[in-house]
């Protein structure tokens, strides 16, 4: 009998080990990673509910759990949508990882990181995931700080904060081990809640412990950073919901949901306030991560109103947004070696790199949640769920939206402005945008519009994400 743990954890981990040895054979390494992740994501999405694959008269039965050191690791059909999503990211990011000159370890480590996130979401008791999350941070070091570059303070701060968050969550869980319900105002509960919420605030990079995100984004390759951030964001939000699902004491805390809603709104507002003052493209990626995190928190805070549906709606648009944004930044840096990433170096780029510029602008507008683009249905859905707060939440959200729009229009203005250097337009017309860039960009832009007009196409892919959260969903 086969086992889901073997398929989605052990095989990618072993593949990653083999790829670490094969890293110098670039083409082989890419091919193995793409085939491996492609197979894993297809199998995850196509796996039937009963975990039995029938091929003619033959049946392949998959067990959904495995015991390690007396603890159970379990991947059920309900988890497979998210696992499939993780391997989808591995597949998309590995398509261009080597051509964008990321670390030579990218193929191997991207598979390993996806496998580790899968363990983090599958281990029982799920508290042990806290250590695995720190493990993921340490494993990411060669990607974020590849050889040939100095170790920046951002990477070190990232590892440090991940290490600090781990004990907070682990201790809180120990404090209340065995207690599923208790009077919500007891000192013990309040202590544990303070610890667990502080731990998650650090993990989710909420203000003011968000500083590592822009630092890392500035120091490291945008393609790598976006890969790590998209996996982290998707997995951590689900992990946080696991906590709320498992611990009644946490979800029954007085005004817990309201606090989460406001935490989301404040994160959205602060990230957009900070983003509006930025003048470097790489940092925009970081602040959009925080902006998306704000919406994710808002969705969790609106769980009682059905806000969690946002998570399945946003999954694909977010992947597309990060991919488009980081791809365009990385390509611009690659094609224009003198480009230092600052906005004031962008003039003339629209004439010279029209396709990449279009992807950049479309990705930004989509992430912002503009109509007709992929993120719009999810964000509109969420805003429609906001309870009446005397225009309080709406005001802050609108201000937040304003900040993001300001930075996007600044970028568009710079892109379409004529170049300061005297470069003849004819000479500068997009000779550097090859067929692969044009094809990928066209597909991305099409996917943004498909998501905007037919949101159910993407939400159907990830509809199973919410299946394990019966208790939270029952609150409705």
């Amino acid at each position: 009998m086969m086992n889901t743990i073997l398929i989605w954890i052990l095989i990618p981990a072993l593949l990653s080990l083999a790829l670490a040895l094969l890293q110098r054979f670039t083409k082989l390494s890419i091919a193995v990673t793409l085939l491996g992740s492609g197979f894993l994501l297809l199998l995850a999405f196509l796996m039937p509910e009963d975990l039995i694959i029938r091929l003619g008269s033959r049946q392949f039965v998959f067990a959904d759990s495995y015991e390690v050191f007396g603890r159970v690791i379990s991947i059920t059909k309900a988890n497979l949508n998210l696992v499939g999503g993780l391997y989808l990211c591995v597949f998309i990011w590995n398509l261009f990882a080597r051509s964008l000159k990321t670390s030579q370890w990218f193929n191997a480590l991207s598979l390993l990181i996806a496998a580790l996130w899968t363990i983090a979401l599958a281990v029982q008791p799920f508290l042990y995931a806290t250590v695995i999350i720190l493990l993921i941070a340490v494993v990411s070091i060669p990607l974020l700080s590849p050889r040939g570059s100095k170790a920046g303070p951002g990477v070190l701060r990232y590892i440090t904060l991940q290490a600090i968050a781990m004990p907070l969550v682990l201790l809180s869980a120990w404090m209340l081990s065995g207690i599923e319900t208790a009077p919500s105002a007891s000192t013990l509960i309040m202590r544990a809640a303070a610890l667990v919420l502080s731990g998650f605030a650090i993990w989710l990079a909420l203000f003011p412990v968000h500083t590592w995100v822009p630092m890392v984004a500035q120091e490291s390759h945008p393609w790598t950073v976006s890969f790590l951030l998209v996996l982290m964001q998707s997995s951590l939000t689900i992990f946080f919901i696991y906590f709320l699902e498992e611990y009644a004491w946490l979800r029954n805390l007085p005004r817990m949901w309201e606090v989460l809603r406001w935490a989301g709104i404040i994160t959205i507002f602060i990230s957009s306030l900070l983003i509006s003052f930025q003048n470097k493209l790489r940092r925009i990626l970081a602040y959009f991560y925080l902006w998306e995190m704000g919406y994710a928190l808002l969705a969790i805070g609106l769980a009682q109103e059905g806000g969690l549906n946002y998570l399945q709606l946003i999954f694909m648009p977010r992947i597309l947004g990060y991919a488009g944004l980081s791809f365009s930044i990385a390509k611009l840096e690659q094609l224009e070696p003198d480009f230092d990433g600052k906005f004031n170096a962008l003039p003339g780029f629209f004439h010279r790199f029209p396709v990449i510029s279009l992807v950049l602008v479309t990705s930004l507008l989509s992430l912002a949640g503009l109509p007709m683009l992929a993120s719009f249905p999810a964000k509109r859905y969420l805003i429609n769920l906001l309870p009446w707060s005397g225009y309080g939440m709406e005001t802050w959200l609108s201000l937040g939206f304003g900040g993001v729009l300001i930075v996007i229009f600044r970028i568009i203005y710079q892109l379409v402005s004529p170049s300061k250097k005297e470069i003849a337009i004819i000479k500068a017309v997009s000779i550097s945008e090859d067929a692969i860039i044009i094809a990928f960009s066209t597909i991305l832009i099409l996917l943004f519009f498909i998501g905007g007009f037919f949101p159910t196409m993407y939400s159907e892919m990830f509809k199973g994400i919410l299946a394990p959260f019966e208790k939270i969903l029952l609150i409705n």
Partner: protein, 199 residues
């Protein structure tokens, strides 16, 4: 007799942590780290047998050895002349660290009574002390080597504290992997910083 040994180990462990926080002499730091792990081995609760404590010291010493050998083979940091004079920074870090240790001794009885009744006073004192000294080191230094030592100190303190509360083989295995990987990351940072930057 054994209580006296445990008490002495607690004090030496805290002093080693303080020394690591204060001085920027790589040989002293690596030696301090090794002493720290030795003291953790002595103080670590033996309710589950000696093997958890043995794992801690083996993993700890291996981590220390990884860092030591990397520094030694890369020649990254030359052997500094030993000096008893303290710089202003060292004095500041030393005083801050001493204040933290004082704070730990002050707060430990209350914590032991109210929050961690399962922990022995020595586990709690050494664990908390190392956590705080590690945190201070993480905040006070920016060089990768010292950040890694700070991380190892912080984690070793937490492992000691958590080990006195609960035992899980899987968690022990995960902690061991994390510690070794952090040491390897430290070695990676040390060798990487020696390479010429790619333009």
């Amino acid at each position: 007799m054994s209580e006296i040994i445990v008490f002495i180990a607690t004090m030496i462990g805290l002093l080693a942590g303080l020394l690591n926080l204060m001085r920027r002499k790589w040989l002293i730091n690596v030696f301090g780290l090794a002493i720290q792990y030795l003291c953790i081995f002595i103080v670590f609760p033996k309710a589950e047998g000696i093997s958890p404590a043995l794992i801690k010291i083996i993993v700890g010493l291996m981590s220390t050895l990884i860092i030591y050998l990397t520094i030694l083979s890369s020649g990254a940091i030359r052997r500094d002349p030993f000096s008893l004079k303290f710089t202003a920074g060292e004095l500041f870090r030393g005083l801050s660290g001493a204040f933290l240790i004082f704070l730990v001794f002050l707060v430990a009885p209350w914590l032991s009574r109210e929050v961690f009744p399962q922990s022995s006073s020595s586990s709690l004192t050494l664990g908390l002390g190392l956590i705080l000294l590690g945190l201070l080191q993480l905040g006070a230094k920016t060089e990768p080597l010292y950040i890694i030592i700070g991380l190892l100190t912080f984690l070793s303190g937490f492992e000691l504290l958590y080990g006195s509360l609960e035992f899980s083989t899987m968690l022990e295995a995960l902690f061991a992997i994390v510690n070794l990987l952090i040491a390897i990351a430290g070695a990676y940072f040390i060798t990487k910083d020696l390479e010429p930057e790619k333009l």
